[in-house]
Amino acid sequence: MSNVSLVITAAAGSAAAIAGGALPAKTRVWAAVVLTWGSCIAALFGALAVLHTGQSLVLNSSQILPLTGVTMVLDPLGAVFVVVTAVVAIASTLYWLGYASHGLSTRTTSAALPLFVTSMLLVPMAGSVATFLVLWELMALASLVLVLVDHRRSEETRSAAQWYAVMTHVGAATILFALVLLSAHAGDQTFAAIRVHARHLPGVVRNTAFVLAILGFGSKAGAVPLHVWLPKAHAEAPSPVSALMSGAMVNLGIYGIVLVGDRLLGGGPVWWWLMVTAMGVVSALFGALHAATSTDLKRLLAYSTADNMGLVLIGVGASGMFAASGHRTIAAVAMVAALLLTVNHAAFKGSLFLSAGSVQVATGTRDLDQLGGLMRRMPITGAIFMVGALSIAALPPLNGFVGEWLVFQSLLHGLPTSSTAVAIAIPLGVAALALTGGLTAAAFVKAIGVGFLGRPRSVEAAAAHEVPRSMQLGAGMLAGLCVVLGLAPVIILPALGRAAASAVPGAPLATVRGSVDLHLAGLQGMLAPALLAAGLALAIGGVIALRQLARRRFTPQPALRRTEPWGSGRELQTARMQYTATSFAEPLQQVFDDVVRPDRDLDVSHLAESRYYVEKITYRTSIGDIIEQSIYRPVIRAVRWWGQRVRGLQNGSVHRYLAYGLVALVLILAAIT
């Protein structure tokens, strides 16, 4: 019965896209948003039913796609990703209602956004190779259109879209190879058939398929070194689109890796998962380091997405390693941790991107060095950003904390019972997680402190006003989710446990139990986030009461005095003297000089009268992406060089083209005879 919801999801989504493309400007956005909500809610119903009962939904139709037909299967693993996508989509489209007046109410946008959302909802429901690839491509194209929306405004947007187009299609090509390879050997293209045949596949085929799949899906997840498109596209796309890409789309890369590695191939040797873990460690560290040194707010958030996806990959990799060495229970705990990190990431990164968009709307810039003092001017957006930033830094009592704790526990308990390679990988994994955590904390202290606190660094920041209600609501919804999931993660953990059990073959169903406190199945580890939060609230109340009491006890209190801060005896202290995002990150940049490799440029010009007197000193520093510069640029240069050479073949002379035809014909004839 409930597979009706799959049909409604697709139908409402298509209707939303058509309405967005066809209706006149006044009603277009509303109609598209309401129909998209319909699609999301239908998907939510279906997915929640699947998570509740554990029964998959199946839908077959031979009419829609020619030759292959459409096969939809929604299992618990896919359902988790559907729920995440639906929630982020509802919040982002709500936000879009207020944001649309800023150049986002065009026909193209209004049609592409629902299409993007719907295709993301449907990708985890795909049950066959053809269905999956069609939906995957639809998702890529719709998001590409959305990245390009602001193309008139800057050259960077066009370049970002170009990078994104190339990377996503190279990724799609490798995924296509991987899946086609599997289905060719299985003789059937449904995932169910591939799963049955996967055991009898030769090792070479399995390994090739998995490596290709990691490359393709890894690039979608923003795993380093395949991440180069991510900071560009996420930063340049309009904010609701960034939130959708970062909160929902990159997750599907993770889904793909789990789908191919665990669901289709049924797990593999340890080295597969070591590779995934290594990719995760590199992404986490690289992303966190760049987030800590970025000064562009949205770029910072984008790099932090690469970092968070790295953490998820560490969890997925650890789960695979444990499963490969026969520890199914711990494997399931690690998978639950990875899924929880994914859900958490969607909540806080969604709210962060949306509130960054609000800042951009209010001030016209996303350069942290131009911001400041927004907490007093935009208190609600500031509070929302604060909640998101504190939860991404894994601070209690917010949701990031529980996820990170679970990863540490799974790594700790996986340790005493595994092979040597795993045993070396895990302390390094813990160290990477820890350094990432520290760098993330620094990055987000910088984002809040420089962006929202202190004094405004520009006229625009000083004149900022709070954004429309729907934008606050959209971002606030996700921030509220961060709080709820931080206090009571148990409301989603059973569902995640079921999803993990469907991903890790042979794992127990309930891996994380408990009502208020979390117990881990078969392990010694417990956490009561709600009680910890209650303790914190109690302590805060106690400290405030104590302070008031002490003051009343000792003296008749003079009123609070607002005063100019200490300036070492300087007469005038301006906002420009404050630490900027650049100067905040300077020590970290110095420490990690070899990895970040900033470009520094110092210009000293002297007075014409005497060179002993300096007229002006200009200091410029910028941080590029070292991977882009050292891996991608040479490839691009080589391709360009090759293109130049090939141009020589075409000079417009008809004689020459006829000669080519003759030579080709002779060669072909020679070859076939």
Binding site: L395, P396, E404, W405, V445, R547, A559, R561
Partner: protein, 320 residues
Amino acid sequence: MTGFEEVAGAVLVAGAQIVTVAVGGLLLVGVMRKVRSRLEGRIGPPVRQPLLDLRKLFTKQRMRPEEASWVFVAAPVVLVATAMVVVAISPLATTRPPLGQSADFFAIVFVLLLGSVSLALGALDTGTPFGGMGSSRAMTIGALAEPALLVAILAMSIPAHTSNLPVLVHMGLAHPQMIASPERILALGSFVVIILAESGRLPVDNPNTHLELTMIHEAMVLEYAGPDLGLVTLGESMRLTLLLGLLVNLLVPWGVADRSGAVSFVIGLGALAGKVALAGIAIATFEVFSGKLRLFRVPELLAGGFVLAMLGAVTAMVVR
């Protein structure tokens, strides 16, 4: 035991630990200053001076920089509150603290991080160059100390199969050979380095400095005055005492109450005070003979701590 008695007992234990650490922490600071002064040939302020200072600070007028928001005011409160929560649930005087099952070592690190982050945000909210400077440096050092700290915890947790703090201390009491194991010693060595860095002691930060450009922690709290400054000093001394308390209880757990009961708990409090005082004196003595490291040499110190922790973790795996 009835539910009510259980709750009352838990509240009493938590309250006693908090009060001991709050008052004892201030006295510890006094003791450390006294030791330092004496070794430098001065008489120094009386040991109870920090308590008197705190009392005085609470009588003063509250001041706030012009552009500061609520974050500036909330920061010291959160700092003290996080320290209180961790003190309440940590195995300081007994291995059965209230909510002890949640006193996970990893979790505690994140609760304390909340305190550091809020102070760093409060510093940036002042809108002065010094606030930003202190906050930037503190977050840098904090980020670099994190891997050493968490890997050290991992190394200690592997043999015990848990990262639950009360269990770790209890196991030290039950199986003293675990304390002498190489992984525990290496991990605790790294822990010492981290305590020095996190609580702003020499050679990482000079708590007595008066030069803004060399400040880390002092630069962050430069704008705090009156009751707010009182809370900051209280919070900082509580954190130092807490970290030292955990260190000594992991290193020499004897004296910590391993059963429920008022007598053993009071003995536990006394033992805690004695052990922490000795650790404080040792640090103060060390500080007399050491200078402050350049900021960019601190990462090397922390890397050293990390290497110790990593060796500990590897040893723990090999020994097992």
